[in-house]
């Protein structure tokens, strides 16, 4: 198992390096103008631009620039480890930007993931067990709504109704946990719900289909024939087997949302990693985008690893060597 983990870890590092390289290449080749101009004022001079080029290593060839970035990333810069450089937008340390914004995104994703996993699987199971009843139809209707409703619309509507009209929650913006759990929760509950709604719908449909398929298997019939209770048949033998694909997609969804919950973060003014990536992309701020890309790539790799380990728990046939 340890050997397996070490091998996966090495692969993770390689994947992150490749992703960094590709991102670097894309931004370097984009006709986005000279980043030094952003720090040279409204009336730059050749001398001031040369100074900034030197400072940002922009006077070096692409591969040397990339080398500097990898070196700083590995050994750290004046802001500590990992060294992620400074934003081309405002000259703020990207590391500090990531540290400031990561908890926002992680709380958002963790809360939403908990909701969609619990409700998605529960609705899926209910729907499968009560197949072709009104409960199944209502559940699948809800799933259809969740998939169809755009997140930005749901977000704005929920803010309008729940915050502005009813005053039930704290509205938009992020309140750190240090300001009190009540205020934090009050500001997170709407984004959690809105973000989770889409995934609840997807997970409910997935769970329902997988469970129905599993419940049609021979070993389920055998279990029933043995006289096991329906509860045991469904939860111990049916659900556990049908959860493997859910675990795969769950891991990937969480990882992708680390840098990808842009709309939710924008509508609810959470300003997490997705917002940083979005802003960085539209302002062609390479260091900020790279920072988020590294986070997302790392999250994808780590979650893949976690999923693989969870497989072993869900499916006794899986063993790692």
């Amino acid at each position: 198992m340890l050997l397996y983990l070490a091998r996966r870890l090495l692969w993770t590092i390689l994947v992150v390096l490749v992703v960094m390289f590709v991102t670097f290449l894309v931004f370097f080749k984009l006709p986005n103008g000279d980043p030094a101009l952003r720090f040279a004022g409204k009336s730059p001079t050749t001398a001031s631009l040369a100074e900034i080029h030197k400072r940002l290593h922009l006077d070096k060839p692409f591969y040397v620039e990339y080398g500097y970035f990898v070196k700083n990333f590995a050994v750290g810069d004046d802001q500590g480890w990992p060294g992620l450089g400074y934003s081309y937008g405002n000259y703020v340390s990207v590391r500090s930007e990531i540290l400031e914004r990561a908890p926002r995104t992680l709380f958002l994703v963790a809360g939403a993931a908990t909701l969609w996993l619990i409700f998605g699987v529960a609705i899926g199971v209910l729907s499968a067990v009560k197949r072709r009843t009104w409960i199944d139809r209502v559940a699948m209707g809800f799933a259809l709504f969740g998939i169809s409703a755009p997140v930005f619309w749901l977000g704005l509507m929920s803010l309008f109704v729940v915050w502005k009209k009813l005053g039930l929650t704290g509205g938009s913006g992020y309140v750190p946990l240090s300001d009190g759990i009540g205020a934090w929760f009050s500001h997170m509950i709407l984004p959690w719900t809105v973000l989770a709604l889409l995934y609840i719908a997807i997970y409910a449909r997935l769970t329902r289909n997988n469970l129905l398929e599993t419940l049609g298997e021979d070993y389920i019939r055998t279990a029933r024939a043995k006289g096991l209770s329906e509860r045991t048949v469904i939860f111990k033998h049916g659900l556990r087997a049908s959860l493997s694909p859910i675990a795969t997609i769950f891991g990937l969804d969480i990882a992708l949302l680390v840098g990808g919950a842009i709309i939710t973060e924008s509508v609810f003014n959470i300003q997490g990693l997705g917002w940083l990536a979005f802003n960085g992309a539209i302002t062609q701020d390479l260091p900020s985008v790279l920072g988020v890309v590294i986070c997302t790539a790392t999250a994808v790799a780590v979650m893949n690893l976690v999923v693989d380990v969870v497989y072993a728990f869900l499916d006794p046939r899986v063993r790692y060597a």
Binding site: N32, G33, F39, A47, R55, E97
Partner: protein, 609 residues
């Protein structure tokens, strides 16, 4: 392209008509002395990101909105402004200096005496001395500290030698004692006092800034204030050694800037700032819709943000909302730049014809109509000339809609107009490259220009670029025309327009701001790889040198004449709008005031319930 634009213009026209008809007179609501009170917190929303150019480090920071914060709340200078709107807001007054000095020695020497009682905020806690100004200006001169407008201080004797590392100090700055500072210039500089009023020239304590040498954008969260406020938590920062200095909690560079009262501030030393509120919080918000919802509900009090059209209309037209709607001159010109080296704009007849043909009113309607700004009739906003060029309009057309007849008359004599037809009918007039941006307003602007130029025979090949500036700032790209540019003043002097925009000597390969290439020489064209016609390009370098040494009122007259000369004899632009700054405040704001220097709210002069 025509039809959708027609609808767009019609729609914009209806919106603008409604806005104008009902919003007439909805301008600044301020100076209600009776409603002013001290205390409370001013909450300011900030759209998307602070957008600071140097993370608010006064040495390099060049964003106008940052000037508003630094100048009102954190950084006092030898001389400064009254934090008022319009003309009075641009007048220089003594701040840390005891008086505004008159230059001596033929305009070459300025001597300042420093007031006693002006202290640095915690944790420095000491009187500001003349040496602290030297510290700030040496940081400005040192290229490694990231200065972005160091060129304004180049007239100081010894500046260049210090910047080049050839001298250990700036020889033109002397401090005979702790409360006296003497500047010696190499050439008379009529606006030198205004240059000293910029935040980079405010005093800095060397015991802190030494820790940020060679680190641009780092003297920020630990900025030591001299004004009425300080960054929250700065009093808890340990400055006993550089290693111990940690960023104050009130500024994270990304989401919040929180300033609170500076306990070391002595009001009697400051004649201008009122400092009504106890605390000012600037909070970044991802959505302008959310910002204005919060302003309406009172969770925010104002914003540095684009205003959604529906919100603008609501506040401009509703009688109950008008009191929260504030408009002031932005001292910014929006213009169409024409490249003097590129056909057909290398012919002054064509450039003049363009000035006659463009429907400036339609361009403005596309931006939201008269609410957004005034039609520009010449280069520099009238406000910078004290309104003395208000009636000057060399390319006047009925209703500012453009005139084909006048344009065709101006075109006659052009080498691109065969047989004096008044039409630009040469091959060079077809498919002329027009560089545009991807802002919401750009498609409408491009359609207007295409429609207008076609009337005099010019057609465009449009290239929309997300972020067009880098392209038009590169002379070797040979961009003939672009509708993207806008330029705002740095301080209230026409030099801040003319020098960067028309000085041929400052044209550079990358980041060039003289987009029209006024004054470019054939030798420069060769070096900078500029194609096109580089011979005989008109230059105003001599006039620029002549004006820059003048002192008012001769200075203003000199620049007025230069503006007229450029408009008629060079014609590098089609100036079309002088934009206004619009701010919407919440019902919590009991007194609003505009700072004309920074063209931002005068945060030190605003009071809340």
């Amino acid at each position: 392209m025509k039809k959708p634009f027609g609808r767009l213009v019609a729609l914009a026209g209806v919106v603008a008509a409604i806005v104008v008809a009902t919003a007439a007179g909805a301008t600044a609501h301020s100076n209600k002395a009776s409603s002013i009170k001290s205390g409370g917190t001013l909450n300011v929303g900030w759209e998307q990101s602070f957008g600071f150019t140097d993370n608010m480090d006064p040495t390099g920071e060049y964003l106008g909105d940052a000037f508003g914060i630094l100048d009102n709340l954190l950084v006092r200078t030898l001389v400064g402004y009254t934090h008022n709107a319009d003309g009075p807001g641009n007048a220089i007054v003594a701040d840390i200096a005891t008086t505004v000095p008159k230059p001596t020695n033929g305009g070459l020497t300025y001597t300042f005496k420093i007031k006693q009682g002006v202290k640095f905020s915690p944790p420095v806690n000491r009187q500001v001395t003349s040496a602290d100004f030297v510290t700030a200006l040496e940081r400005e001169a040192n290229p490694k500290d990231g200065a972005q407008y160091a060129f304004y201080y180049k007239p100081i004797k010894g500046w260049d030698a210090y910047a080049a590392g050839k001298a250990k100090s700036i020889s033109g700055i002397k401090t005979p004692d702790a409360s006296t500072i003497v500047f010696t210039l190499t050439t008379p500089t009529g606006d030198f006092l205004k240059r000293l009023a910029m935040p980079a020239a405010g005093p800095m304590p060397v015991e802190v800034t030494k820790c940020f040498e060679g680190q641009p954008g780092k003297y920020t969260a630990d900025l030591i204030s001299t004004a009425g406020y300080m960054i929250k938590g700065i009093d808890e920062v340990d400055i006993s050694s550089c290693a111990n200095i940690k960023p104050a909690a009130g500024y994270d560079g990304q989401t919040i800037l929180d300033v609170v009262r500076n306990p070391n501030y002595v009001k009697s030393t400051d004649p201008t700032r009122k400092n009504y509120v106890d605390e000012v919080k600037f909070m970044v918000n991802a959505s302008n819709v959310d910002i204005y919802n919060k302003i309406e509900s009172g969770q925010l009090d104002m914003a540095t943000s684009s205003i959604p059209p529906a919100v603008l209309k609501k506040y401009a037209t509703s009688s109950s909302k008008k009191q929260y709607f504030h408009q002031n001159s932005g001292d910014r010109t929006w213009y169409i730049t024409m490249n003097l080296t590129q056909a057909p704009f290398d012919d002054i007849h064509v450039r003049r014809a363009m000035n006659y043909i463009v429907d400036k009113d339609a361009l403005r309607q596309g931006w939201g109509g008269p609410t957004v700004g005034d039609i520009a009739n010449h280069l520099v906003p009238d406000a910078l000339f004290g309104g003395q060029l208000k009636s000057y309009n060399p390319y006047k057309t009925p209703g500012n809609h453009g005139s084909a007849a006048l344009a065709m008359k101006a075109m006659k004599g052009s080498k691109y107009s065969t047989g004096n037809s008044g039409m630009c009918d040469a091959a060079a007039c077809k498919n002329v490259l027009l560089v545009s941006d991807t802002r919401g307003v750009d498609p409408g602007m491009v359609a207007t220009l295409q429609q207008d130029a076609k009337k005099i025979g010019i057609t465009f090949k449009v290239r929309q670029i997300n972020g067009a500036y880098p392209t038009i700032q590169t002379p070797s790209k040979n961009v003939p025309i672009s509708e993207r540019p806008g330029w705002g003043k740095d301080y209230a002097d026409a030099l801040t327009f003319f020098l960067p925009l028309f000085d041929g000597r400052t044209i550079i390969a990358n980041g060039n701001t003289n987009y029209s290439l006024v004054g470019v020489t054939p030798a420069q064209c060769k070096t900078l790889k500029i194609g096109g016609n580089c011979t005989g390009v008109p230059s105003v370098d001599t006039q620029l040198d002549k004006c820059s040494v003048q002192i008012d009122p001769a200075r203003t007259t000199c620049y007025e004449n230069l503006d007229k000369y450029l408009m008629t004899n060079v014609v590098p632009w089609v100036p079309w709008m002088w934009s206004k700054v619009t701010r919407i405040t919440s019902s919590n704001v009991t007194h609003y005031q505009f700072d004309q220097f920074a063209t931002t709210p005068a945060y030190a002069m605003i009071s809340v319930k």
